[in-house]
Every structure is written in structure tokens, then in C-alpha cells.
């Protein structure tokens, strides 16, 4: 192929792209850089671009602030709540898409549970879980204050409407003739769902799962109100470096870096599915 002449338009285009990249990526760079700085290198004026890197902040975050536990908690809560959302949500979405359960009213009701800000329900939830935690059932299911079960319930509640609506559109995109055909071919409705529908809707489920995971991973308000120490999650953990002695920028940056990395790797691994899932309807035509 012949090399194309670089025009002025190209230069402008790349300049804009470069500027946008700087705008979006610089905070991340600065966070990572700060996480490797010694305390004396952090809040200097002018900012110090070269410094002696140190792992001191990471040691502080994991040993003093017990950040490993927070990561473990967050992982459990995020994965469990997402799994519940996918299982319940996909079945609900399928029945909405194929049987028109509730003639649209039920779907609207489900959406309506997202029409108030989280702050409006967090105090009632606090009271509910405080009392539930003192009952036998609450203790058995880990549903009290500062318990992981309580967060799983909250995140499931919040992700379920979103998940159902998203998956509903994915299910609707699957031609109903495929299911008719499989039913005539000798399969039960459940087998049709498992063998014909699910393989087709898998990219859509992956996309839904990613959104749910990201929400659970980044959620702050509920985790802040409902946990103290045992069930504390990473977002609250990061905020805890805001102490009476001042903001511990180094450990805070180290913790934040650790928070970002798993989601980044996860998104890169599933990128193929994300793109396929987001363009699902468009490609089918």
C-alpha cells in the first residue's frame, strides 16, 4: 500500500486525540506515581517529576490498614451479588421478553425501584439490617450490620432492575423462530432456554455482568453506612486514609491503584464480549 501524505487535518486530529488522552489518563498516571513516592515527595511545589520510588505506601496500606481484607470483601460481595443478578435477572428478562409477564407494568414497577436516590433508602436499610442482625435468620445468612450478606442484598437490589432491562433487550433480539424450531425438534422450554437461547445471549450476559461488577466494586454509600471493620470494602477503605492527622496521600494512592487494576484487567480480557454485546442489536440487523 502506498503511504498516504500526512495532511494538516491529520495533525489537528492527532493533536486533539493526544490532548484528550492526557486529560483522561493523567490523573491515573498521577495516582500511580504518587503511590510510589515517599511522603516528602508528594505535596511539593512545583510537583516533583523524578523521585526515588518506594513500596512503603503499599506496605502501609496492606499491613497497617488491612487492605487485603477489604479487597477480599469487595470481591466476595461483587461476585456473589453479580451472580445472583445474572441468574434471577436473566430468567426474569426472558419471561418478560417471551411471555410478556405483567404486560409491561411489572417491568415498569421494577424500573421504578431505581427512581429514587440511594441516600433515600440507606437509613431504612441501616435500621432493617441492625434489627435483622439480631435475629437467628439474620445471623445465619450474615445479614446484620458490618456483615457481607447485607451488602450482597443491597447490591443485588440495585443491580437487578438495571440487569433485567439490559438483558430484556438482548433476549428480545433473538428470533423467536429459533425457539419455535427447537421446541418442535423435541426440546422442553427449559432445554430450549439452556441450549439455544443462552449460547446466543451469552455476550449480553457478559456485558450485564461487567456493569454489575463495576457498580459493586465502586459502590461507596451503602458500604460506608452498613459496614465498620469486618465487612469493610475497598472504597470505604480508601476513604479511611482521610484521617484526623490529615490525608495520607501515599497509602491512599497505593490503595486506589490496587482498586483500579483488577477491573482494568477484567475489562481488557472481556473487551471482545463487551463490544459484541453493546452492538448486539445492530449487528443482527
Amino acid at each position: 500500500m502506498e503511504r498516504r501524505q500526512v495532511t494538516g487535518g491529520d495533525l489537528v486530529r492527532y493533536a486533539i486525540i493526544f490532548a484528550l488522552l492526557i486529560f483522561f489518563l493523567f490523573p491515573i498516571y498521577w495516582m500511580i506515581a504518587t503511590s510510589f513516592k515517599a511522603p516528602g515527595d508528594i505535596l511539593t511545589r512545583p510537583p516533583r517529576w523524578t523521585f526515588q520510588p518506594t513500596l512503603e505506601n503499599y506496605f502501609y496500606a496492606f499491613e497497617q490498614a488491612n487492605f487485603g481484607l477489604f479487597i477480599k470483601n469487595t470481591l466476595i460481595v461483587a461476585v456473589v451479588s453479580t451472580a445472583i443478578v445474572i441468574v434471577i435477572g436473566s430468567l426474569a428478562a426472558y419471561s418478560f421478553a417471551r411471555y410478556d409477564v405483567g404486560a409491561g407494568h411489572l417491568m415498569f414497577f421494577i424500573l421504578s425501584t431505581r427512581m429514587f436516590p440511594a441516600i433515600a433508602v440507606v437509613i431504612p436499610y441501616f435500621v432493617i439490617f441492625r434489627d435483622l442482625g439480631n435475629t437467628v435468620i439474620g445471623q445465619a445468612l450474615s445479614l446484620g450490620l458490618d456483615r457481607l450478606g447485607a451488602l450482597v442484598v443491597c447490591y443485588t437490589m440495585f443491580n437487578l432492575p438495571f440487569g433485567i432491562w439490559l438483558m430484556h433487550s438482548f433476549f428480545q433480539d433473538i428470533p423467536v423462530e429459533l425457539e419455535d424450531s427447537a421446541r418442535l425438534d423435541g426440546y422442553s422450554r427449559l432445554q430450549v432456554l439452556l441450549r439455544v437461547v443462552l449460547p446466543l445471549v451469552a455476550p449480553g450476559l457478559a456485558v450485564t455482568a461487567i456493569f454489575c461488577l463495576i457498580f459493586a466494586w465502586n459502590e461507596f454509600l451503602f458500604a460506608f453506612m452498613l459496614t465498620r471493620a469486618v465487612a469493610r470494602t475497598i472504597t470505604v477503605g480508601v476513604a479511611s486514609f482521610w484521617t484526623q492527622r490529615g490525608i495520607l496521600w501515599g497509602p491512599l494512592s497505593a490503595a486506589a491503584t490496587v482498586c483500579v487494576v483488577p477491573m482494568l484487567i477484567f475489562a481488557l480480557l472481556l473487551q471482545r464480549y463487551i463490544v459484541r454485546g453493546l452492538t448486539f442489536g445492530a449487528v443482527r440487523g
Partner: protein, 383 residues
């Protein structure tokens, strides 16, 4: 293989009556076509036979056995879909094997059967391909092959070739007919294309507005339509209709279209003598049976004015105005005429049909007589 009986079958979607009490018997091994315009209830009827739609009321029997409550997977019917409905995540081989796997065939048996069917439909070299990489015609073949792997009792086809281009459609049509002759399945074929229905079927059921207007062989449907709807729906270009007044003058039976006198069809004679012909009638004549002359003659007595001439190659279709009514005439391929040119037409009286202008029912029509004798099995709607 099975015979199928539909008995006073109804399908309602809320207030919409899609199928309104149809009854028909389909003989074992017959190729029956359900023909009608979109929304006539033909697809609903087929889906009820398949078990994909619930029956509002009425009964369906396979070989005399009531199957209303039998689940689709237990009916052993196979269906080829308009959209082919191949499983996109499975290759052609697995698509063909899919119904067999449901029946828990062993891998060896599945392989034998898939190879056999693929051989019959000549798609053996496609077995490793994914459906997305096939052409429309190939996808249709695979869809048919999948429907055939199980040796179904009834083979249902829902407009299976309507998405193919004209040339492929012609090829597939001949192919389907051949397949039916060789395999002898009971086949039900839903289509809105009268050409397909006539070419393929042993018998055609013409449907409109949820009712069966007529069931008959392609010849019966074409030559002895039961009513004006069937007459107008079958045939291309469609049948011409001319509103006429019937009267008796000096002992003679006369048809008049305003000032024009038209000869009565000879087969209506006995009806006329019984006084069974109403005053307002519609005369129907197919474009093929109108003869044209440049001069008025003993035969050519109906004056007409050329509106437009369409040379189609195999024939020329001439549209003319007879007073206020537009008629289409099929003429020789080399026929040419000027716009507004005068022509004189002759209707072949043996080929004209009479319909009651109010009810649309055929008068003096052989099929209609049979219908009467049988006590009205086919729910002919009076509207």
C-alpha cells in the same frame, strides 16, 4: 406420516379473530397449501397444528387422535421457517443433528442419518460450515434437511422460499415438489404466493379473514372459484370483473353492462330457468379468455379503449377501459396498440363466470354446486 383433521378451529388474540372456525381434512401423504393474503390466518392455523399457538376452540386430530393438548415436542411435526431459523452457534452438521440429539440417538446413528439426509439434499460439503457463511438458498436447504432428519409425521412449511430470488425460487419449487413425491410426507405449505401454491399443492385451501373460502385442486380453484375473492386472488394478471344487470326479455336471458349486451355463460342456463340468478350480478373473465379485434364484428361486440400496453416478452398485457371499467387482456407477444385506440372485445362465453353482486358467491359454478350438495362444509362467508 399422518392425516390431519381440523375441526371448527378458532384462534383469537384478545379481540382479534385470526382464525374463525375453519374445518378441513388433509389426507395422509397429501401436499396441502394454505394460500391467502397476509393476515388471513394461514400462519396461525399452521402454528396451531405445530402446537406453537394455543387453540382458542375447536379440535385438531392426527390420524383421528385428538392432539389439542399434546406438547409441540411430542407431536413429531417438523417445520421449515420463512427465516430458516438455523441455530447460529452450531455448524450445519450439528444443526441437522439437533433434533436427533433431543431424541437421544447414539452418535453413530446420528452420523448415519445426518450423512444420509445431507446426501439427499446434496449439502454434504456444507456440513462443516456455520449458518452465517451460507447463502440464502443454502440456508433454506439446511433448514429443510433439519426438518427432515427425524422422519416427521407432518411436514410444515411457512413461506419457506419467499426470501429467495426469483431464479432460486423456481428451482426450489421444483425441488420441493420432487421431494414430496419421493418422500411422501404429509405436507402443509403456507404461502401468499398463488403461483407457488398452485404449482406445488395437491389441494389448495384459499383463506381470507380467518375463513377458508374454498378447498380444491389447483384446477378447481382456478376454473371454478367458489366466490369472487378466490376468483380475484388466483391468477396473474387477476380476473376481470364487470358489473352487469340480469334480465329476461321476451323469454331470453340477457346480461347488460349499461348499453352493452353480453352473452350469458351456457353453464348458467339451468340456474336462469330456475330463477336462481339475481338482478345484480358480477361477470368474471380471465384476461387470457378475452379476444381482441380491431373492427366490430359478429364476435367482437364489446367496445373498449386502450389505456396502456405492457409488453412482458412472453405475452403482452393490454389494459383497456370498457365504459368506466378497467379490464386487462392477455394478448400475443407482438400485439401493439396506441393509447386511446379503439378495440372490440369478445368474451368466450364458456369461460365467463357469474357471481352474485351482493354476496360475491359464484352462480352456476360447478364447485359451488358441490359445496351445496355437501351441505356447506367449507364455511363460505356471506358478506
Amino acid at each position: 406420516m399422518a392425516s390431519i383433521t381440523l375441526e371448527k378451529l378458532w384462534k383469537k388474540y384478545g379481540d382479534v379473530e385470526a382464525v374463525r372456525g375453519i374445518s378441513v381434512d388433509i389426507v395422509d401423504g397429501e401436499f396441502m397449501s394454505l394460500l391467502g393474503p397476509s393476515g388471513c390466518g394461514k400462519s396461525s392455523t399452521m402454528r396451531m397444528i405445530a402446537g406453537l399457538e394455543e387453540i382458542t376452540s375447536g379440535n385438531i386430530y392426527f390420524d383421528g387422535e385428538l392432539i389439542n393438548k399434546v406438547r409441540p415436542r411430542d407431536r413429531n411435526v417438523a417445520m421449515a421457517f420463512e427465516t430458516y431459523a438455523l441455530y447460529p452457534t452450531l455448524n450445519v452438521y450439528e444443526n441437522l443433528a439437533f433434533p436427533l440429539r433431543a431424541a437421544r440417538w447414539s452418535n453413530a446413528d446420528v452420523d448415519k442419518r445426518v450423512q444420509e439426509i445431507a446426501g439427499i439434499l446434496e449439502i454434504t460439503d456444507l456440513l462443516d460450515r456455520m449458518p452465517a457463511h451460507l447463502s440464502g438458498g443454502q440456508q433454506q436447504l439446511v433448514g429443510l434437511a433439519r426438518a427432515l432428519t427425524r422422519a416427521p409425521r407432518v411436514f410444515l412449511m411457512d413461506e419457506p422460499i419467499s426470501h429467495l430470488d426469483t431464479r432460486q425460487r423456481g428451482r426450489m419449487r421444483a425441488y420441493l415438489k420432487r421431494l414430496h413425491i419421493e418422500l411422501g410426507h404429509t405436507m402443509i405449505y403456507v404461502t401468499h404466493d398463488q403461483e407457488e401454491a398452485m404449482a406445488l399443492a395437491d389441494r389448495v385451501a384459499v383463506m381470507d379473514q380467518g375463513l377458508i373460502r374454498q378447498v380444491g385442486t389447483p384446477d378447481e380453484i382456478f376454473h371454478n372459484p367458489a366466490d369472487r375473492f378466490v376468483a380475484g386472488f388466483i391468477g396473474e394478471p387477476p380476473m376481470n370483473f364487470l358489473e352487469c344487470e340480469y334480465s329476461q326479455e321476451e323469454g331470453r336471458h340477457v346480461l347488460r353492462h349499461n348499453s352493452i349486451t353480453i352473452e350469458m355463460p351456457p353453464h348458467s342456463e339451468s340456474w336462469a330457468q330456475r330463477g336462481a340468478i339475481p338482478q345484480h350480478v358480477t361477470l368474471g373473465i380471465r384476461p387470457f379468455y378475452i379476444d381482441t379485434g380491431l373492427e366490430k364484428s359478429v364476435r367482437h361486440t364489446i367496445p373498449a379503449e386502450v389505456f396502456v400496453v405492457e409488453p412482458l416478452g412472453d405475452m403482452t398485457v393490454v389494459s383497456v377501459n370498457v365504459l368506466e371499467t378497467r379490464l386487462q387482456i392477455v394478448t400475443e407477444p407482438d400485439f401493439r396498440a396506441q393509447r386511446k385506440q379503439s378495440l372490440w372485445l369478445a368474451f368466450d362465453p364458456a369461460r365467463t363466470l357469474l357471481f352474485d353482486a351482493e354476496t360475491g358467491k359464484a352462480l352456476a359454478n360447478q364447485a359451488w354446486n358441490q359445496e351445496r350438495a355437501a351441505g356447506g362444509t367449507g364455511d363460505i362467508k356471506a358478506s
